[in-house]
């Protein structure tokens, strides 16, 4: 699955290059995530949550209707995650990386420098160690997202791009299920990246 996503990311730009109305963008930023799991053991309330994670975002878009684009966006985050026991302290559980790929549709928002984006895709959790709730590996989840993008020229061929992204997915793992956890946790993520954009409408 990971290989397919990486190949998609590598092949997309060349496919889009044939389109005169294609746009490429890339950025660096940070992503915040809501809690992954809330647990109760004896009288302890334990909340597991990723920390704010450095983020790389790359994407490409092609105009499919006047003013509306179809795009593919890849996002990679890497950061720590920890378990906080209310009133007792926090335990660092390790490094948690995520890789997501989304197919999006975007259009103008309010006025030209701003655009909105809606997307559907997949998110893969990539813990550096298979321990705890990731003992049986990280899950692959369906991802739904919304976003906004601001773009302003800084040179004849290059634009400054600021992308705000929100997405959510339903989280659980094989290990949590095997330990008797039921239902799934709605996880919300908000990220912002600053980078460059090339091509397309300006």
């Amino acid at each position: 699955m990971r290989t397919a996503l990486i190949l998609t990311g590598l092949l997309l730009p060349s496919a889009l290059a044939a389109q005169s109305s294609s746009t490429f963008y890339a950025g660096l930023g940070a992503t915040w995530s809501s809690k992954l799991v809330e647990d109760n053991i004896v009288s302890d309330k334990i909340t597991t949550q990723p920390g704010i994670a450095p983020t790389i975002l790359v994407g490409g878009a092609v105009e499919v209707f006047p003013r509306y684009d179809l795009d593919i966006e890849l996002q990679f985050t890497t950061g720590s995650y920890s378990a906080e026991t209310k009133g007792k302290g926090t335990t660092k559980l390790g490094t948690l990386r995520t890789f997501s790929a989304g197919l999006g549709f975007d259009g103008p928002l309010f006025k030209p420098p701003f655009r909105w984006r809606a997307s559907v895709g997949v998110l893969k959790y990539l813990p550096t160690e298979d321990t705890g709730m990731f003992l049986q590996g990280g899950p692959l989840d369906l991802l739904l997202g919304l976003g906004a993008q601001y773009r302003r020229p800084v040179s004849s061929s290059l634009d400054l791009s600021i992308a705000l992204r929100y997405d959510f997915h339903k989280f659980t793992t094989d290990e949590l299920q095997s330990q008797g956890f039921s239902q799934t946790q709605q996880v919300h993520r908000v990220g912002i990246t600053v980078g460059i954009a090339m091509g397309g409408r300006r």
Binding site: I41, F105, G132, Q183
Partner: protein, 212 residues
Amino acid sequence: MSARSSFLIAVSAAVAAGGCGDITPPSRSDFYDWRLVVGIDSLTFNWPEGHTVQVWVQDTLNMTANTQAGIDTWKEQFLYQEFDAVLVADSSIADVLVGVTIPPAAVRAIRLGSMAPECVGDTTFPPLNGSTIVLPFHIRVQPRTLDPLGEATQACMQLTVTHELGHAMGLFVHSTNPNDLMFFDPISGPTARDRNTVQQLYHFDPDLTASR
């Protein structure tokens, strides 16, 4: 379709698809008592959070690998890294000593044994000094066959040292369920009951501390 209406449609669709909901933890209601009974008191011990238990192993009869497997098995029972242990080369700093010897018949100690056809094991520690366990814990596992490196004996020794490590973690009482790892004569495990028990143990405030 205007830009504003298309944006609002996208937002509405996303919110409707997301809804709200939380994962539901298990009740962990199926567990057994772990407390050390001293007189009329039932006492809880667990290793403090952040302490990595130092385990020294007598390097013979594959016990290093068996003990490491036992440590890994127990660590896998936890979701939030409540317990950690490592093998160390220096027995003088160890919290737990694992030896391949015949358990002494008469020693003034708190003794928690286990028995299987192929091997026998026990865990001992000196009588309490007030509310303090005087380290180290002594674990002894001894083969009872003529082929100590044979498959059945090795399986027994790994299971038994894992069981004994459970005692050194604070599971001071044997389960009454023959399927549990902490049954006095374990045949397999750990089970969900073992996991529930050790997870609860490590979220109880201890009555006992450990000291050298």
